[in-house]
Symmetry: C2
């Protein structure tokens, strides 16, 4: 399977003739220099992957005919939602890339008390759109046929008070050396259907936020050393997958 893979949300059933999104068309023609007649693979971001043939690649875009379905890379048995406090600079980009690679089902960017950015400025900066592009690019690289959804950024408090978007089992990672959290070994070994992983910003959580977290689920602490905020999600996802038999 050395065919180039493209994200084609319109791909539905074999025989369909579809147009690639503009970014993907550029990748196909300008980067990979593919053209009419070339064979590729497409995934629709919702878990389906197909063989496909390029019918036309010109100024009007790239047209493909969808071929036989392929077996997509398997998704984790546990659907993990990552609720990540937006980090400084472009560190959130790396977190999104890594979380998609690891196999999360959805990403909720959150703004907590010690985040150094507001929901308004994230919206103005069109950061969600940027993270969506990164999610597509990471799904392409890691072979997933699922592109995790990126939710609208919102306040952590809003999660605490509503919580309707989140499955019942919520895990909050706290700073090392805190007495507030339990170790991973305390987690139920049974693989849950859903889990939400909530990761704090560089400055950590406030006492109030830890209280909200405790009311929503289990607080887990990861070892006794200080981890960089931008590595926390990857470390925690790896640990959870190890705990739940994905590795």
């Amino acid at each position: 399977m050395s065919f180039a893979r493209f994200f084609a949300p319109a791909a539905g059933v074999p025989g369909d003739r579809i147009l690639l999104p503009v970014d993907e068309a550029e990748h196909l023609t300008r980067v990979l220099r593919l053209s009419s007649g070339d064979r590729v693979r497409v995934f629709n971001g919702r878990g389906a992957e197909f063989e496909a043939v390029v019918d036309a690649a010109d100024r009007e875009g790239v047209r493909l005919t969808i071929g036989a379905p392929c077996v997509p890379a398997p998704e984790p048995r546990v659907a993990i939602t990552l609720a990540q406090s937006v980090l400084k600079g472009d560190k959130m980009d790396d977190v999104v890339r890594d979380a998609v690679m690891m196999g999360v089902a959805a990403i909720h960017p959150i703004v907590s008390a010690r985040s150094e950015i507001s929901v308004a400025s994230l919206t103005r900066g069109r950061r969600r759109e940027r993270w969506e592009r990164i999610a597509v690019s990471s799904a392409k690289q890691c072979g997933r046929a699922v592109v995790p959804t990126i939710a609208e950024p919102r306040q952590f408090n809003a999660i605490g008070s509503s919580g309707e978007d989140f499955p019942p089992s919520v895990f909050i990672l706290v700073e090392p050396n805190t007495s507030a959290g339990v170790s991973l070994a305390n987690l139920e070994p049974t693989i849950p259907e859903h889990a939400t992983l909530v990761v704090g910003p560089e400055g950590g959580w406030t006492a109030e936020e830890l209280q909200i977290a405790a009311s929503l689920g289990t607080l887990v602490t990861l070892g006794r050393r200080t981890l960089r905020a931008d590595a926390m999600a990857l470390v925690a996802l790896s640990a959870m997958f190890a705990r739940w038999g994905e590795f």
Copy 2:
């Protein structure tokens, strides 16, 4: 404990008067603007940490008097040696930084069949010295009192034929979707005293290398998705710590 921490390999016992290494002295004076009379902490890289007072900070360097010992951040119960195939560009820098943060005991840079760099060019480029500086900097950030040793880069084949530096339990991470490896759940749950984690380059291992690996220990595959080569060590270390009760 909000005192700035410095790496002082000469720190031995309370009462000692020592000179900071040049890089650390620059950090103390130019970045943190500390001077005579200021209180700091120093760690010797071998697991000991002390309070200290700046006696003099001038052109001749920074002199400190070592004070009372402090309880250092605990080290993992399992001493992990990371043998990492040198990655492209400066990606190895990030792997060193992350591995030190996670708590490895030593790092062995290796050159395998598909590495895109030679041992000779690593030596010419003084890369080992660079990684040593990164290890110090990461130990400072993550609160460790241990600075892992960075071994001389060498060929993977040399490890296979000698193996004397490595403890008996060797784990090789193979690419996903290979039938060569077992899952993490197959590893002995008993925490070993030492473990060696061997991580391949971007292009993966050759069949010959996998054979050498199999003769040295257990081949482990991490899930069924494609992971970026520069994320493998962090993911694998997290998974091993989760397996062995460090989290």
